[in-house]
């Protein structure tokens, strides 16, 4: 076999391997979608059904509370899930907005000004993110209980802002470092104040970075479970602990769990796709820029 054709064979094998792994990574996600659209008996058949007549029953079941009447099931109101999703949205967006604002500001200061012990401070900021949450969760719980912040939106927003601000600072510093200083210096010469130069010159240039950072913060806040489990009970409960407790209650309604899961992961999948160019940077704290 010549070298060239051997290479061609290897290329073919590589494509087959890639195809198989793609199936491995996507089948569970397909299965979530499929299960959420199946009729109840179809969920538990062996061999599993890959093709079936879709129905939205599970979604209706997830979102509503029904009661049995002689004429069949009747919807009497909305279930807790829409509210819990709304909590996730509110807490996710507000904490992201705060974390990205604070992070962008401190990143700008670290990028442009001389700060005493800059490297130590940056390392300190990074280390707070590396800290295992389990180490601080107990005192935070006691603190929140004393301040009556348990089960409040504000409490979770404050927590998620704290987690994300270190990440946002690091990521934004990378993005702001890449913006040439000359633009602002020209604006300063033109009589802009430093703050105005930051708002009018730097922010528009950093908009891609801000968007990427925001998406990562949003996904982190959206997916967070441990703190939401411990710090909320009812009022501010977000979707992840709610989905987890659905497991225990009312038997195991796999169709409804699948529906809830799919609604919950859809925005993350969409955002991942939009942010694909920045993923590498995002998952490594901006350590690897490309």
């Amino acid at each position: 076999m010549s070298r060239r054709s051997r290479k061609g064979t290897f290329h073919g094998i590589a494509l087959v391997v890639i195809g198989i792994s793609l199936i491995f990574y996507l089948i569970p996600i397909y299965w979530i979608i499929a299960t959420s659209l199946k009729r109840w008996p179809d969920i538990f058949v062996m061999p599993p059904k890959f093709f079936f007549k879709p129905t939205l029953d599970s979604y209706v079941g997830l979102m509503t509370v029904r009661t049995m009447t002689p004429e069949g099931a009747k919807i009497v109101g909305a279930s807790a899930y829409p509210r819990q999703l709304l909590n996730s949205v509110i807490i996710g967006f507000v904490s992201t907005a705060l974390a990205v604002s604070l992070g962008t500001m401190s990143a700008y200061a670290f990028s442009r000004f001389q700060v005493k012990g800059k490297n130590d401070l940056m390392f300190f900021i990074l280390s707070t993110r590396m800290l295992p949450p389990v180490v601080v969760i107990i005192p935070l719980f006691l603190m929140y209980r004393a301040l009556h912040l348990i089960d409040t939106h504000f409490g979770l927003i404050l927590l998620y802002t704290t987690f994300n601000v270190s990440f946002a600072t690091w990521l934004m510093k990378g993005f702001i470092d890449e913006i040439p200083k000359e633009y602002e210096e020209a604006a300063l010469v033109d009589g802009y104040s430093r703050f105005k130069a930051f708002v009018k010159i730097v922010l528009p240039q950093a908009i891609t970075g801000i968007a990427a950072t925001a998406v990562f913060c949003l996904i982190t806040a959206w997916n967070e479970f441990a703190f939401a489990l411990i710090m909320t009970t009812r009022n501010a409960r977000t979707a992840p602990p709610a989905l987890a407790s659905r497991m225990g209650s009312s038997g195991v309604e796999w169709g409804q769990i699948a529906a809830g899961t799919f609604i919950f992961l859809l925005p993350v999948a969409v955002f991942t796709f939009i942010m694909r160019k920045h993923l590498l940077r995002g998952v490594t704290f901006g350590a690897i820029k490309k």
């Binding site: 089948i27 299965w31 104040s193 479970f225 989905l243 987890a244 993350v268 694909r276 590498l280």
Partner: protein
């Protein structure tokens, strides 16, 4: 330079702006991270329970009714002691039992706690008094150190980290080697493979529970397809002996594998789930490292007719290794902290087969309310994590030095 070039800047001076920009972040981090961290350290030297009064009143557990003799003698029999032990409460030798108001309510008093007992058709241990805050020195630590179970949680976690991180490394890096070529739809395929790691561990854990179910789970069905196909082929081709029957048996036993609820398989199931979720991360970082290797190095090796192994060993691996180490560092830290996935998929069970340290910390802190002791455990975890990461960083610096 900035602001010092003689021109008086308008608006906020640079110094004020700098403070305004940095201070809020630092204040937030200190208040929400450093302060709790110190508080936690302090609490680890105290006997303290953060149990709420409402929880005190709810039933702890029930025991049988045949302990009247205990009440008569006032001391605790070995059987009752065992019942308490089964529920995670160790009574000291000096514990006593007494009664209030026509023995409708018993009180089992230990030197630290009082357990209230209601007598119905069973003894209902309805709660215990909140032990007072008391400095105990390093007792929390020494108790944790001497408890054999503490070490078993650490070993379980270590097994998990070792298995999961190596599986993710092999699969992720291997996949990156295959993906590091030009083909149609490369960007799309890479993005799709990356979706799992962006999902919430809760969602992943919940769903894999369904997929790994031994009765109607998809996983068992899919892995049984291969031996089932081989069974058909060997049957049609009339293979000698009982090869075909063996494949048939394998297929049917694969269909009934119990994953999450069998002690020996549960940890392994978690490894499978975690690998599904996080091998894309390894793949992403490996791919970044691979695509950054300059092509001319391979071309030069090609001219020298170097073997594929030589190229891998002397070009690919040394140049990717700093990035691989970063990936391994991130994954090891994360895997060591594993909580969400365990909580959802196995809750530490069956028995304590998948009880990781984080899971155990949650249990101690928020179910048993042994707050002081949990803080001590948290610090043990912190020290292990710091030690692990400094080992990695040492190797990382070495690898960086080598590749330059």
């Amino acid at each position: 330079m900035r602001g010092e070039n003689g021109r008086k800047p308008r608006g906020l001076r640079d110094y004020e702006l700098k403070m305004m920009f940095i201070v809020p972040t630092l204040v937030l981090l200190i208040a929400m991270n450093i302060f709790p961290l110190l508080w936690s350290l302090g609490l680890s030297f105290f006997r303290y329970s953060a149990i709420e009064n409402s929880i005190l009143k709810t039933s702890l557990f029930e025991v049988g009714l045949n302990y009247q003799a205990d009440l008569n003698s006032g001391s605790i029999s070995e059987e009752l002691r065992q019942e308490f032990r089964n529920n995670g409460i160790l009574l000291s030798q000096n514990a006593t039992v007494s009664t209030e108001k026509k023995d409708s309510k018993w009180i089992i008093a230990d030197k630290e706690n009082e357990y209230y007992v209601k007598k119905k058709d069973k003894l209902d241990i309805i709660g215990y008094s909140k032990p007072p805050l008391k400095p105990v020195g390093t007792k929390n630590y020494s108790r944790l150190f001497t408890q054999r179970s503490t070490w078993s949680y650490f070993t379980t976690t270590a097994y998990f980290v070792l298995l999961a991180v190596s599986a993710q490394f092999i699969i992720g890096f291997g996949l990156a080697l295959f993906l590091n070529r030009e083909f149609k739809g490369k960007g799309m395929v890479t993005t799709l493979i990356l979706v799992p790691m962006m999902l919430s561990p809760v969602v992943v854990g919940l769903f894999w529970r369904f997929i790994l179910d031994s009765q109607w789970g998809l996983f068992n069905y899919l892995i049984s397809l291969v031996p089932a196909a081989l069974h058909r082929i060997t049957a049609v081709l009339h293979f000698p002996g009982n090869v075909s029957a063996w494949f048939q048996n394998t297929a049917s036993s694969a269909r009934n594998i119990i994953w999450l609820t069998r002690p020996k398989a549960a940890l392994f199931s978690l490894v499978i789930i975690d690998t599904w979720m996080w091998s894309p991360f390894m793949m992403l970082l490996s791919l970044a490292g691979l695509s950054a290797i300059p092509k001319y190095l391979y071309e030069a090796a090609e001219i020298d007719r170097a073997s594929a192994w030589f190229k891998f060993r002397h070009i690919t691996f040394p140049l990717v290794s700093p990035l691989l180490l970063i990936a391994l560092l991130f994954r090891t830290m994360d895997a060591f902290k594993l909580f969400d996935l365990v909580y959802i998929a196995t809750a530490g069970g069956p028995g304590s087969a998948t009880e990781t340290v984080s899971m155990n910390l949650y249990r101690r802190a928020f179910q048993d309310y042994r707050t002081g002791e949990s803080c001590a455990l948290a610090y043990m975890i912190l020290i292990v994590i710091i030690a692990l990461s400094s080992i990695y960083i040492k190797y990382l610096n070495k690898a960086k030095g080598d590749s330059q």
